[in-house]
């Protein structure tokens, strides 16, 4: 909690003949994060070279490319594939050699044929397009060419023309333009061309066909229908192959991926002629397991040792270490940036505070139930780890939304029968609205209190972070600067409290005066302000320009109220239009027109609340997230940690 998983740096040395079993064992455990060896002549690594792949690497990657090509042709994605039975790896390897080439050949043959048919269909479509203009002109297509003493012009013109030389002309008006065919003696070519040019003539090529244009067009349309039929047949065959072999293909992909990753692992090791050295990271709790397993597989012919960690220079991979209810929130952390190894991991705080903020914004029993139902429904359809995490985050948020809905006493904008326990958000909307209206000062003070507490917490975490990781004079300065910010916030609060009485805040205005017009609280406030300012300025004088952020960041929390109120307002307006204006008056005296109004009212009600639910997810989610990212994290969190990605694979379709 509050810190990532503890890591140990492991050094593995063995002779090259032990490479395969060691790699296989490491892969099986899926714990060793390999630190890639780079030939930079680092101290202690002089003369070492990057390793070469274990034999069989290129065959395996060739096969993998084939399998992935077939999967692509079928659009199979292993991520959204249900696991039915797990296959044995060694059996599968034999089957791959026997069956994969056959499947590949079949699929390749079919897809190749389909591509050819597609091309042919395109060609025929082009021919139809070429013939179409001539359909309106009487005369066979072979009559347009083969003359020595005549020239034929065919194309589109802007308007009808009259040619001053002897000719035969056909003119057809169409949607795409006026089509014209002119046949004239060869010696009159120039005159005809000139006349046509004036009418903005665009020539079209005369199709290389014979017969009546319409018949030729119909012939090609028939051909295209036949080709489409053939393509459908091929698609059916491919579908049959897909359903028959999909299981096999995803299993193949997994086995081959395992083989490729294992055989190519030496590319990340340092090697000499006879030995290899692998460096990497393992969770400290698993060091003993890994060491023992390696000793066992190699019969002790291996040297495994833990190296000291230099936190200043080593980039230690980071793996979260959170209780299960906080794990979905890791997604929100990764979206910002993974914590550094030496940093506090605020995931657990995010997992608690994010739903609370969401609930404060979208506190409505009705919307909460809709969201909860949506999450439970989507959980079955969306596959993949990240989507599942997102849904879990949303589920927690919707439960919190229901909880705060009870406190606010709201159901789709209607008041619930019980009294509200938090300041009221019920607006007076509609002509006959009665009631107290919203308790804006109460809501505002609630939001500001939340802001003060959250920001103070952020600064306290900042103190802890700096106290843990900085050294020397800088450490003291950084810790004091964070304390200075806390003093500034509370100093300003003391000053305000001693001057103006405010609801839901302590009232210090009645305290006895000490100096001039200042009472004890104001004096304390001024002292805190001055001390805070000195602390901040000692670390960096430039930070002084950030002082207004004290106000802006605290006031920023008023979005918890503002965004929430706007959502309540939309809900109440929808209710008023749908029920107060459309449905209600008609129910007193039902007529035929009244029924139409009632149906309209129901539609407005549904549409309005669906839209408001969507806005609620966006508003509640993004604004809560922003309060974390901008107002909370900037106080203490840096991020930029490297993801822990162990060498290995969580097998889904196969077993060793």
């Amino acid at each position: 909690m509050l810190a990532p998983e503890q890591m140990s740096r492991l050094l593995i040395v063995a002779s090259k003949d032990q490479m395969s079993p060691v790699v296989a064992e490491l892969y099986r455990h899926n714990l060793f994060h390999i630190e890639d060896y780079v030939e930079s002549g680092a101290e202690g690594y002089e003369g070492f070279k990057i390793g070469t792949p274990i034999s069989g690497a290129s065959e395996a990657s060739g096969d993998l490319v084939k399998v992935r090509a077939i999967e692509n042709a079928f659009s199979i994605h292993s991520d959204d594939f249900e696991v039915k039975t797990r296959r044995n790896q060694s059996e599968l390897q034999v089957t791959i050699e026997r069956e994969l080439p056959a499947i590949e050949q079949e699929v390749e043959g079919l897809t190749g044929k389909r591509a050819k048919l597609d091309a042919k269909s395109k060609e025929y479509e082009q021919k139809i397009a070429d013939i179409t203009p001539f359909i309106g002109i009487p005369g066979d297509l072979d009559l347009y060419r083969g003359y020595q003493r005549f020239v034929v012009f065919a194309g589109y013109v802007a308007h009808e023309v009259s040619v001053p030389v002897p000719n035969e002309m056909y003119f057809a008006k169409g949607k795409t333009g006026n089509f014209i065919v002119v046949v004239a003696q060869a010696e009159h070519r120039q005159e005809v061309e000139r006349v046509l040019q004036e009418a903005a003539f665009r020539a079209v090529s005369i199709p290389d066909e014979a017969g009546v244009p319409k018949e030729r067009g119909d012939f090609y349309s028939g051909q295209i229908t036949l080709i489409k039929k053939e393509i459908d047949e091929i698609n059916q065959k491919l579908d049959a192959i897909k359903t028959k072999h999909a299981d096999f293909l995803v299993a193949c992909e997994e086995v081959l991926k395992v083989r490729v990753e294992q055989t190519e692992a030496p590319l990340r090791f340092a090697t000499t002629n006879e030995t290899f050295v692998a460096e990497g990271w393992v969770p400290s709790a698993s060091v003993a397991t890994i060491s023992q397993a390696l000793e066992k597989t190699t019969n002790g012919k291996i040297f495994v040792t833990e190296l000291p960690i230099d936190l200043a220079h080593d980039s230690v991979p980071v793996e979260y270490n959170n209780p299960s209810f906080s794990r979905p929130s890791q997604l929100l952390m990764d979206t910002y940036s993974r914590p550094k190894y030496t940093e506090l991991d605020p995931t657990i705080m995010v997992s608690i505070v994010f739903p609370i903020f969401f609930g404060l914004i979208l506190g409505d029993v009705g919307y909460g139930l809709i969201l909860l139902a949506m999450c439970l429904g989507l959980r079955k359809f969306l596959k993949g780890e990240e989507s599942q995490q997102l849904i879990a985050v949303l589920r927690n948020a919707s439960i919190s939304s229901i909880f705060f809905g009870v406190l606010y006493s709201e159901f789709l904008g209607f008041p619930c029968p019980w009294p509200y326990l938090l300041p009221s958000r019920h607006l007076n909307i509609g002509a006959h609205a009665t009631g107290h209206g919203p308790n804006i000062p109460g809501l505002m003070m609630m939001a500001i209190w939340i802001g003060i507490v959250h920001i103070t917490l952020g600064r306290v975490l900042g103190i802890v972070n700096h106290a843990q990781h900085d050294h020397g004079a800088h450490r003291t300065k950084a810790v004091l600067a964070n304390a200075g910010w806390i003093l500034m916030i509370w100093g300003i609060l003391f000053l305000i409290w001693s001057m103006v009485p405010m609801p839901y805040m302590p009232d210090f205005t009645t305290l006895p005066k000490v100096v001039l017009t200042l009472n004890i609280a104001s004096v304390v406030g001024v002292v805190m302000l001055v001390v805070g300012l000195v602390f901040i300025a000692r670390e960096s004088a430039l930070e002084i320009v950030e002082l207004p952020s004290i106000f802006s960041h605290v006031l920023s929390y008023s979005r918890l109220v503002a965004v929430g109120l706007s959502s309540v307002a939309i809900a109440m307006v929808v209710n008023y239009i749908a029920i107060g204006m459309l449905i209600g008056p008609q129910l007193e005296n039902i007529t035929l027109v009244g029924v139409i109004f009632i149906i309209l009212g129901v539609l407005v009600f549904i549409f309005g609340h669906v839209m408001n639910t969507m806005l609620g997810i966006l508003g509640g989610g993004l604004h809560s997230l922003r309060l974390h990212y901008v107002e909370f994290f900037t106080k203490f969190y840096k991020g930029g940690g490297k993801k822990y990605s162990p060498f290995g694979l969580k097998r889904r379709f196969t077993e060793d």
């Binding site: 979206t335 910002y336 940036s337 804006i440 006031l555 993004l622 990212y629 901008v630």
Partner: protein
Amino acid sequence: MVGEVVVAAITDVELMKASQIGMKALAAAIAIVGTAFAAAIAEMAIGSAAVGATAENKDVFGLVLLLTVIPETIVIFGLVVSLLLIF
């Protein structure tokens, strides 16, 4: 005579109250409109740059989301001011 003056004075007071409410509502509207436009203009530029940056490198999504929503505080302030004006 006196009665008429009193009635006129009461109507004047009511009118004044009504116009005060109207002015408050207008002031609240101006606060919202101004800040909303400001936030929109600011987010327009940041948003388009953010989408470009995300297209180049998907990892910066979290950071650019943060940068995009920073000006949103302006409109929240506007809303706070208008709420305080009205209630």
